[in-house]
């Protein structure tokens, strides 16, 4: 079964594992206490508490000191705290007797390598390892936690069959022209075609300039590259919350950048309030944190809101006033289905003469064109310096040449792209309506959203207690009893408990009753007196 979504490494496949698994460990002083207390009890009969604790303590600390001196080589590499944590499964005395530890790894590693404890990832793993299939595995876990669009892949497949003879190489068998080194930031033909797609997708209100496009292997590196270019380690970005859980990883892991959530509330339908943004900025300043920019998602993930023209203008004013950047992640801009019109940051900038230097847009083919596997992302910037740096950084994240060729063909077929975008919107709308209506019948409301591949559901009435723990309990029930993976708001840094993101684009219409039935069972169980 093909996997979709991140999975934990299965260590059973690795042989000869004499190496302890990295886990957060009790410190040696805790173990020390475990020794001292019984000793204290033994000695307590003679000499009392003071002698009973001082003597064993002193002995223990001398032992530690002696062993540490013996262990570390006289010269160069003092084991750093991070190293010790990695070394020990349990800080037992036997560990102190090891002549040498494993070679040091960077301080990033222990948080990255540890087992995924976030519900977002645990749920994804579970759904991937036991995926629901109406025919082959009807008892499996339904994946509603991955924003993947399966509704219109058949249209793309047909296009490939009709135009490329199913050839992976993009029509024709020749690899000539694509094997050699290409410009890291993408082939000019693809940039041109991409500019056309982006324009089509935002409703033709903007013309995108191919020379302002930098192509990357997915939107994930696009965001990371912008962070490297705009901010130093320790600098921060303001980010409206709830936000996509992946940002915590994508923006922070290697860049050392911090994120400050700007909380949005259900009373505002989770739209961004400028006064709250201002407050967050000021608080950051008071704490001595340097804010370098704002990261927006528009359409937003996980809520599905579209930013209004007024909000975008206010944001631009705000950024101007504070002299910071704006990164507008518009990866779902082609996946809108409501009555509201989508306004791209590009449209706002077009009508403004000054200050384009602070605006950068991220796009990609993973959502709107359902091609996440192909790794095609875009940085679109108005800042020539940023473009220059980004181009250089794409050497670490380039789009594969055969993919560039195939995608260029497809995007250049503007008739197809136009009809595809329209059909996609229709199918999204249909599925959204069905799903939201189904939830409504269960007494679960959703925010009114107009974009994205998901809906933002209010299950706060079903959680007990009304806090994160209650929310996670419900999440757990839905996953393990209801066999449905949805994303709890706490993974998205939502400040109000009880909200969940449900992606409905991996389903087809026949699956909806099944899903609703499973949710109903869990809902009933929640409502019945404990």
């Amino acid at each position: 079964m093909t996997q979709t979504g991140p999975r934990r490494l299965r260590n059973s496949a690795l042989d000869d594992d004499s190496q302890p698994q990295p886990q957060p460990q009790p410190s040696s002083s805790t173990t020390g206490m475990r020794l001292i207390v019984p000793l204290q009890g033994i000695v307590q009969g003679r000499g009392g508490l003071i002698l009973g604790s001082v003597i064993p303590c002193a002995m223990f600390y001398f032992l530690q000191f002696y062993l540490k001196r013996r262990r570390s080589p006289p010269a160069s590499n003092p084991p750093s705290p991070g190293n010790l944590t990695d070394l020990s499964r349990s800080a037992s005395r036997s560990n102190l007797l090891l002549p040498r530890g494993r070679p040091h790894v960077s301080s990033r590693v222990s948080s990255i390598a540890k087992a995924n404890d976030s519900p977002y990832y645990i749920g994804l793993d579970k759904a991937t390892s036991d995926p629901y299939d109406r025919l082959c595995n009807p008892g499996g876990v339904v994946q509603l936690g991955l924003a993947e669009n399966r509704l219109t892949l058949d249209l793309i497949e047909n296009w490939i069959t009709n135009n490329l003879n199913e050839s992976i190489l993009g029509g024709g068998l020749s690899v000539s022209g694509i094997v050699t080194y290409q410009p890291h930031d993408g082939m000019p033909e693809l940039k041109l075609a991409m500019a056309g797609l982006m324009s089509q997708v935002v409703g033709k209100t903007v013309t995108f300039n191919p020379s302002q496009i930098v192509l990357t292997s997915g939107a994930t590196p696009a965001i990371e590259i912008l962070c490297f270019a705009l901010a130093d380690q320790g600098n921060t970005f303001l980010i409206p919350a709830p936000y996509y859980p992946g940002f915590d990883r994508d923006m922070k892991w290697r860049t050392g950048v911090e994120l400050i959530p700007v909380h949005c509330r259900s009373s505002d339908n989770f739209t961004l309030s400028i006064p709250v943004l201002e407050q967050a900025f000021n608080q950051a300043r008071k704490r001595g944190q340097k804010v370098k920019g704002i990261l927006l998602s528009n359409p937003s993930n996980p809520v599905g809101n579209l930013m209004t023209r007024e909000t975008l203008l206010s944001l631009l004013d705000f950024a101007r006033e504070k002299n910071i950047h704006i990164i507008s992640d518009e990866i779902f801009s082609g996946s809108t289905f409501g009555d509201e019109e989508f306004v791209s940051m590009a449209e706002i900038i077009d009508s403004e003469d000054a200050d384009k230097d602070r605006v950068h847009i991220v796009y990609g083919l993973s959502k709107d064109l359902s091609l996440p596997g192909f790794r095609v992302g875009v940085i679109y910037s108005y800042n020539e310096n940023v473009l220059t740096v980004a181009r250089k950084m794409t050497r670490f994240s380039s789009v594969s040449a055969p993919t560039q060729r195939l995608v260029t063909s497809m995007l250049s077929d503007t008739t197809f792209i136009k009809s595809y975008t329209e059909r996609n919107r229709e199918r999204l709308r249909t599925m959204y309506d069905l799903f939201v209506d189904g939830l409504k019948e269960l007494g679960i409301g959703c925010t009114k959203s107009s974009g994205g591949l998901y809906c933002w559901c209010d299950m706060s009435g079903l959680i007990r207690p009304y806090n994160e723990k209650g929310e996670l309990d419900l999440w757990d029930k839905l996953l393990n009893v209801g066999k449905i993976n949805i994303t709890p708001g706490s993974s998205c840094h939502c400040i109000e408990p009880g909200w969940f993101r449900c992606c409905f684009t991996t389903l087809d219409e026949n699956d909806i009753p099944v899903v609703m039935e499973r949710i109903r069972l869990v809902v009933e169980a929640c409502k019945s007196p404990a």
Partner: protein, 445 residues
């Protein structure tokens, strides 16, 4: 009365953005610009600059095309409806299992079956450039040091340092022993790093070496492995040219040595590989980190999200690389052709009075122009380099870009052009050396 013009503060960029560590202002890249502006073409621009600074393998391209023509099922998702869909949606950072298996088996074949590779330890990245950077992020913190033998691939200054903040401390190698890595040089580099208060995290070797075009001998590898074990640091072995060794028995991979030691202390070893050189597919962006350390494998896998290989490409190459008949034939013929090219260029240079380091691998030779330097300095070396670029119209890479401690050495690539073009280049160089001998070249007096 003067009117003050108020400058609006322009919005700032990061230190990384403003730094010069990307290195693209060095001579290595200046030569590329000269080539871009006036590229040689057999018919349309026979007097243009011949690019001999790009290590790209174009000698076996016909074999790839032949495979694709004869194996059409390999290049289509097929009539099977789910083939394309599942492939298009597949973004798992574990990578396609079929492709990982194919990579592991290809790496075994390239080493003549002398080492085994486990697909579970193969982490996929979009090119070796990303693999080297990824490992650096994992093994070191900003300010830490990696020891790298000189001369080394100019791109390392950027790939290992730019975004990671890690330092490179050179392990100086000298022509007196054919630039082999010695224990003294290792110790000296280590001590130098420590004297600057840098924590040394590992040694990074390229085997076969770029730019030397020579494999590292077994006993030297053993010595390096013992050294890193003693110091409790890592060893990264960039084996990107392992399939480009002219005689298969002359290459020893660190994997072989680890196997012979029963993988004792192997958790400090990591291999970087790619299909860009051996298979001539740099445009496809296919690289791998192969680590013997579980924690590094897990971390690298997750971090590879920033540099995944297109699932389309993985699918295509999985079929190509698991076709053992094709890969065996390709590896064998590719080696042969590279060897012939190497002999052509070395003989041609000899006739022109130029010696090269005795090499046995890679897509380039390490040419010695030190007898012709005015002074044994970097400036003199750059003068010759400039002359060769402007008069002889050849772009070659000066040793100083490779941090070579001796002036006058140059890396000359021979596999990114046709045989005819190589002859043209050799002829030009020959004529240039003749002119110089006859005192007709003023700039070198």
């Amino acid at each position: 009365m003067a009117i003050d013009i108020v400058q609006k503060p322009s919005v700032g960029l990061s230190k990384i953005a403003l730094s010069q560590t990307h290195g693209e202002n060095s001579p290595y890249f200046a030569g590329w610009k000269a080539y871009d502006e006036n590229p040689y073409h057999e018919k349309h621009n026979p007097s243009g600059v011949i690019q001999m600074g790009l290590a790209e393998n174009q000698v076996s391209f016909d074999l790839l095309e032949e495979f694709l023509e004869n194996n059409q099922e390999a290049t289509s998702w097929g009539k099977n409806v789910s083939g394309f869909k599942e492939n298009a949606l597949f973004q798992d950072y574990h990578g396609l299992l079929a492709f990982r298996k194919a990579m592991a088996s290809f790496m075994e074949q390239v080493r003549g079956g002398k080492a085994k590779f486990n697909p579970e330890r193969v982490v996929l990245t979009a090119g070796a450039t990303a693999a080297n950077e990824l490992l650096t992020f994992i093994l070191a913190n900003p300010g830490d040091a990696l020891l790298v033998p000189t001369p080394y691939y100019p791109g390392f200054d950027r790939d290992l340092r730019w975004r990671t903040g890690v330092e490179i401390v050179p392990i100086h190698c000298e022509s007196s022993n054919n630039f082999q890595i010695t224990l003294e040089a290792l110790e000296s580099a280590y001590d130098h790093a420590r004297s600057k208060n840098m924590k040394v995290r590992g040694v990074l070797i390229t085997n076969p070496s770029n730019p030397l075009g020579a494999t590292i001998q077994r006993k030297v590898l053993e010595q390096i492995l013992d050294f890193v074990t003693r110091k409790n640091i890592h060893l990264i072995s960039d084996e990107i040219y392992s399939g480009s060794v002219f005689h298969s028995d002359e290459f020893v991979s660190i994997a072989e040595i680890l196997e012979s030691r029963n993988y004792k202390d192997s958790e400090r070893c990591h291999i970087v590989y790619s299909l860009s050189k051996d298979l001539g597919l740099p445009g496809f962006r296919v690289g791998t980190v192969y680590s013997y350390n579980d924690q590094v494998v897990t971390t690298a896998r997750r971090m590879s999200s920033f540099t995944l290989i297109s699932s389309q490409t993985q699918f295509l190459l999985a079929s190509m690389l698991s076709n053992k008949e094709f890969t065996e034939k390709y590896i064998k013929i590719n080696r042969e052709r590279l060897r012939k090219r190497y002999e052509t260029i070395v003989d041609g240079l000899k006739k022109a009075g130029i010696e090269c380091l005795k090499g046995n691998a890679g897509l380039f030779c390490w040419m010695n122009l030190s007898p012709y330097l005015k002074e044994a300095t970097r400036e003199s070396e750059l003068e010759i380099w400039k002359t060769i670029m402007e008069e002889v119209k050849l772009n070659i890479s000066p040793g100083s870009s490779c941090r070579c401690s001796e002036a006058g050495w140059f890396r000359v690539c021979f596999a990114n052009m046709s045989e005819e073009t190589l002859e043209v280049a050799l002829r030009r160089l020959h004529e240039f050396m003749d002119r110089r001998r006859n005192g007709q070249v003023l700039s070198m007096e």
